[in-house]
Subunit: 381 residues, 2 copies
């Protein structure tokens, strides 16, 4: 159960300022959502994540199903109790893993990869399946990376697992289509995703909020059709998934085609955005929440985000730099630790280096989005 | 500069309760010393280590010399500022690495390894050197694991590096002899260690406290001779190094032979003890401080120390256990997180699992030693 209210609409853009009420408290939107794949922000305790001002976490149904298994989270009393996280939670549906374990892995690309000549088209023309995943009308067969056993995930299974995990917000099971997929492939895939969406709604027994996912890749009419179909269903909110095109213009276009067709009263979540530069752009199109692995992923590879751009602690020589990561940041890491120490830890491959950068980067992303909210409040976005 | 005062002596044993004053504050002794090899307790920020009640840290001269280099720490204003650690610090001299990179590596053994048939004896009889380290009368040649370049560490070099690192307490350069070494080897090695001790005293320019190291392996007369020689020099405290024999009885004997020959007024540090079971035993012999990698090392491998013994989160099935790691512990991890979550994190190889266990284990070791201090205070040890 969620309640979403819009406090203010920007006059200069489609940005909106809102409050998303959940059983675990309120989220000020637009909001950054931290990615806690395995029910943890890698390298930080939950009480530390609270101190980064992260409002909301998203965990992965696929990962938690494989280990420790949703029964463990159910017995623990749900994901919030399990990880001692007092704030709202989401779980994705496993749809993204259908892509990343399938075509993503075969083609060696991410969701927003640049185009690559004809590979996916050739796969699709031959009507072949990805190598490690079998997609059927009912769901997806794959092998557990732990046991090697064949496993199956479909709409009913995904909802059943997500109900046991117990997040405040869950997502309908979809196929996240590969970038560069052909139009015929997207037509078939979207039909399947829409059928699965209806099955998810029928399967739901819990009071968790259920978001439907709009697909349709970078094809305007297919995105619009998907938005109309998903909007007509009884979802509590919307996810925008799949390929957003190869550029910022692509992202803006896809959101521009899609969001105006979705009920204004329901929250919209953009699944997995790329970079900090994208944040204002997507918020201007009317996105309320978005998840992003960038702050945590880059942190563990020695990269900090600052008010003056990225700082790569492996590449730059910062061993004699006594400044904080970002002089304008007031996070506990910037108040207490200096670049020389972090540069040493990163180079020595000490876990603590990744932990310090993870803390700072999350704090920085949250402060960045808080500032965007402030801009909307003041009519400056 | 340190000041050491004894507040109380046990009547039932040689245990002593004391206060060690340093430029970075006071240490209640007997005290556990956390091992921060690379100027970090692996997986924790310094501010978190403070919250584990760790009073004192020891870092490694060898490691910090290789990376980032002592100049970096000197420019940072010393190790305390570098790592934002507000409490007292020690550095070892690099002597232990002479062993572990040398005979330790060749023989595949640790400092307190069980005996192994004749290997070291054969090496010593042939008067051969370890394979990767060359020990001369002046010091030790070795290759940097980073650059492959030949490097040299002798008494003057070790003191010069330790002065730049800037810990409150530094150690004389010694050879930590391999377990099972023959008597003739120990005689030669001890003579060298004693000569190096005198050179370290002459080389010191700083006001840091300098501890001399007693060697002599498990030979009673050689330990006693070493204690007399080191005690006669102008050190501020003592380190007890090298092989302590193969059993608790061996450790008790070596300390029993050695400590009574050292000035009562100066603090004694036991370098690198093994397990929690050893703590009372060594304190009863009159040890004031001791460092130990066990709580942090085991934490990263999924093992917790509790009031009811060890808990191995990889081996035990604790995925449905809602109890804290240790119901009697009041650390922040035990107050907030449960065994089911930690078991999941450890199995999923999440860094956060190691961080949670590191925090708890350090807290537990410090609480354990605080309890031993309480026993001395109450005349119960």
């Amino acid at each position: 159960m969620i309640e979403f209210s819009i406090l203010k609409r920007s006059k200069k853009s489609k940005a909106r300022l809102g409050i998303l009420k959940t059983p675990h408290g309120e989220v000020e939107t637009p909001a950054f959502v931290g990615v806690a794949t395995n029910a943890t922000i890698k390298a930080l305790r939950s009480d530390e994540v609270v101190r980064t001002n992260t409002q909301l976490l998203i965990s992965n149904t696929y990962h938690l199903h494989i280990a420790p298994g949703e029964q463990v989270l159910e017995k623990a009393g749900g994901i919030n109790k399990f990880m001692d996280w007092p704030r709202p939670t989401m779980t994705d549906s496993g749809g993204f893993q259908v892509f990343s374990l399938g075509f993503g892995r075969d083609l060696g690309v991410g969701k927003v990869a640049k185009s690559f000549p004809g590979k996916i088209e050739r796969l699709v023309e031959k009507n072949t399946q990805p190598n490690h995943v079998k997609i059927t009308d009912d769901g997806v067969f794959f092998r557990s990376p732990l046991s090697g056993k064949e496993m199956f995930l479909g709409p009913k299974e995904s909802i059943g697992i997500q109900e046991k995990i117990g997040a405040d917000i869950i997502f309908a099971f979809d196929e996240c289509t590969p970038p560069g997929a052909t139009r015929p492939y997207i037509v078939t895939s979207s039909e399947r995703t829409h059928r699965w969406a209806a099955e998810c709604l029928r399967a739901r027994r819990s009071k968790q909020a259920l978001y439907g996912i709009v697909q349709g890749s970078h094809f305007k009419d297919l995105r619009q059709e998907s938005a109309r179909i998903i909007n007509a269903m009884d979802f509590d909110g919307f996810g925008i998934g799949g390929d957003l095109g190869e550029s910022k213009i692509g992202t803006r276009d896809v959101l521009g085609w899609t969001l105006p067709l979705l009920s204004e009263k329901k929250p919209r979540h953009l699944l997995g955005i790329g970079h900090i530069e994208d944040i204002e752009l997507i918020i201007k199109q009317g996105v309320d929440t978005f998840d992003c692995t960038v702050p945590t992923h880059y942190a563990r590879r020695g990269v900090a985000f600052t008010s003056e751009g990225r700082v790569d602690f492996m590449k730059s020589n910062l061993l004699d730099d006594k400044d904080p990561i970002d002089a304008k940041c007031d996070c506990l890491v910037c108040k207490n630790y200096r670049r020389n120490y972090i540069a040493h830890l990163v180079r020595a491959q000490e876990i603590t280096g990744g932990a310090l950068l993870t803390f700072h980067n999350l704090y920085f992303f949250n402060a960045y989005v808080a500032n965007v909210r402030e801009k909307i409040k003041k009519g400056k976005l």
